[in-house]
């Protein structure tokens, strides 16, 4: 017998565990600042002189890549937390979850909720650099950014579970990093505008879900800092369009992910 209440309780348990672990693991929170900071200040400072033409010279390169850094924090945290189910399933708590009287669908949904929440928090932590970079953020902008980060996190966690659902060993892990995560990130327009790039790159970036996560983050984050016409040049789509495309990607990842994850051996 499957009862809805117990399924919800099961999904909640998985979510709660992820959040509890995140809140407890201070060293992980600090460590996860490292990479985005490196990109923001080293990459940002190093490339700034070469990028003076950006937005007719009116755009600070560090400000331009800031939404990309938000996306990066969210993207890496969500993929890591969902791909970690491979390890967790064989040698960890998830093994115990897999034999509990809770359906796999609830387990997968709980995991998506947990991974997304944690990734969203990671993104929120990055927002503290906005004032340092001279980016003004209103309460409305903050709310919108958090919502967009949560959506991106949910899409990427679903992708992570889709990748990890049938994997039994960690051997493919570095391959996932090199062939999925980094290309997704670099082709998303996080570090350079996607207008005027070679045609192949333009097309690849069109099918990159991260593109649609970073584009609206940029529209919203830089709304008060840049003139509308320049911001228009630096972004691709309206926020609404981006949200719709991300939702579509989310469903396209989540449905097969749950199906694969639920398939009994």
């Amino acid at each position: 017998m499957i009862s809805i209440r117990r399924e919800l309780k099961g999904a909640f348990t998985i979510w709660y565990r992820d959040v509890l672990r995140f809140s407890r693991d201070r060293s992980r929170i600090l460590a996860s600042f490292g990479q985005p900071l490196l990109f923001l200040f080293v990459f940002g400072a190093g490339l700034a002189p070469a990028m003076t033409g950006l937005g007719a010279g009116q755009v600070d390169f560090k400000q331009f890549i800031f939404p990309g850094i938000l996306g990066m924090a969210v993207l890496f945290t969500s993929i890591f937390s969902s791909v970690s189910i491979v390890w967790d399933r064989e040698f960890g708590f998830l093994k115990e979850v897999m034999v509990a009287p809770v359906s796999r669908t609830s387990v997968a949904l709980g995991k998506v909720a947990g991974g997304s929440t944690v990734a969203m928090f990671q993104g929120i932590l990055m927002l503290i650099f906005a004032p340092i970079l001279g980016i003004k953020l209103t309460v409305g902008q903050l709310t919108a950014l958090i919502g967009l980060m949560l959506l991106l996190a949910a899409v990427m966690t679903s992708l992570g579970i889709l990748i990890a659902a049938r994997q039994r060993t960690m051997e493919g892990f570095h391959m996932i990093m090199n062939f999925i995560l980094l290309p997704l990130f670099f082709l998303s327009g996080a570090f350079f505008p996607l207008r005027g790039v070679p045609l192949w790159m333009e097309w690849v970036s069109k099918i990159d879900p991260v593109t649609y996560g970073i584009d609206p983050l940029r529209s919203v984050a830089l709304r008060e800092s840049l003139p509308a016409a320049i911001l228009q040049d630096l972004t691709l789509h309206s926020v609404e369009t981006n949200i719709v495309v991300m939702l579509a990607f989310g469903v396209a990842f989540l449905v097969p992910a749950i199906w694969l994850f639920s398939k009994q051996d």
């Binding site: 709660y16 509890l20 960890g92 034999v99």
Partner: protein, 329 residues
């Protein structure tokens, strides 16, 4: 009453038959052991009984519920202790128990009462609020045993419960298991490849290449070997075997290191006669060593399968396991 009823249970992975037409029953309140080498199909069988793997053929009932029909009901009625650790090391012992209670829908009041009682049983009350990361291997196992019992299962499955633990800790774990059986009247189904642990079971099924080759009490199984085991080394083991044909033995064979292994009814009386025969005749043999012992389950296994319990090659998962041990312990 049969707590577990298994009929012609089969599991294939592609062309490989991991478990082949296995049939057995486990009675209420007994400790039932699955003994066999790595790769014999022990874990595959346990995974089918716990609804983690779908059987390719045959059927299995746990607590009267068909594993293929209502896996959720089966899961609610069993407790499971895995071969590999399945605790969240970033959480405290008590938190691990609490998450288990949430997953099995144990009410808060019941959880509070039972967790205290179980933590007390496995002597972890003082450590309950420490992170599991700080626990020793034996403490983790004990916590897992108490966790497996939290929702009052009727059957406890233990897959190699003492794997990777030192002998003293292994003995300790067994003390808990015995106490558990005496106090609560729970049925236990376990797999092991340790012969001495199998001796603790009420009944044992010896499994090899996915098939049950014998099923009985440890004493009855040892009776299959028929008497005592005499091991002898002489100056010429070939000639010794020839000479031994004059004596009444149940079986004579060469051991792995060339020694002669004899099965005989009364070993104490056999040895002097054997020594005399070796000394007689034109070509007397020099006896280097003689050993007399009661048969063990290892002897039963060798007799039934013709091999000692073997180690399989390391699979991808074993390598992960190994790596985990290196980095996490």
């Amino acid at each position: 009453m049969n707590v577990i009823h298994v009929e012609s249970l089969t599991r294939k992975f592609g062309d490989f038959v991991a478990v082949q037409e296995v049939t057995f029953d486990v009675y209420e309140n007994e400790v039932f052991g699955f003994l066999g080498p790595n790769g014999a199909g022990k874990t595959t069988t346990i995974n089918m009984l716990c609804t983690l793997l779908r059987p390719s053929g045959g059927r299995a009932e746990v607590n009267g519920i068909d594993v293929a029909v209502d896996p959720h009901a089966v899961r609610q009625s069993i407790g499971l202790i895995f071969q590999d650790p399945s605790l969240d090391e970033q959480l405290t012992g008590r938190e691990n128990l609490r998450f288990h209670a949430m997953l099995y829908d144990v009410s808060t009041d019941d959880f509070r009462r039972r967790s205290e009682e179980l933590l007390d049983m496995v002597e972890l009350t003082d450590k309950a609020d420490d992170l599991v990361r700080t626990y020793s291997g034996g403490m983790k196992r004990r916590l897992e045993i108490s966790r497996g019992l939290l929702h009052r299962p009727k059957v406890l499955f233990l897959d190699e419960p003492t794997l990777g633990l030192d002998p003293q800790t292994r003995r300790h774990i067994w003390e808990y298991l015995f106490r558990l059986r005496d106090r609560r009247g729970i049925t236990m189904f376990m797999t092991t490849h340790y012969m001495d642990e199998a001796e603790n079971c009420d009944r044992i099924a010896i499994i090899d290449h996915g098939q049950i080759v014998a099923l009985d009490t440890p004493e009855a199984l040892k009776g299959l070997v028929g008497g005592d085991i005499v091991t002898v080394r002489t100056s010429n083991n070939e000639a010794a075997i020839t000479k031994l044909t004059q004596l009444e033995t149940i079986e004579t064979r060469r051991g792995p290191e060339g020694q002669v292994i004899i099965e005989t009814a009364k070993g104490d009386q056999f040895i002097p006669r054997m020594i005399n025969i070796f000394a007689d005749g034109g070509d007397p043999l020099e006896v280097h060593s003689v050993n007399l012992r009661r048969p063990t389950l290892e002897d039963v296994f060798i007799k039934l399968t013709g091999r000692a319990i073997r180690e399989e090659e390391a699979s991808g998962k074993d390598q992960m396991r190994l790596r985990r041990r290196m980095f996490h312990r």
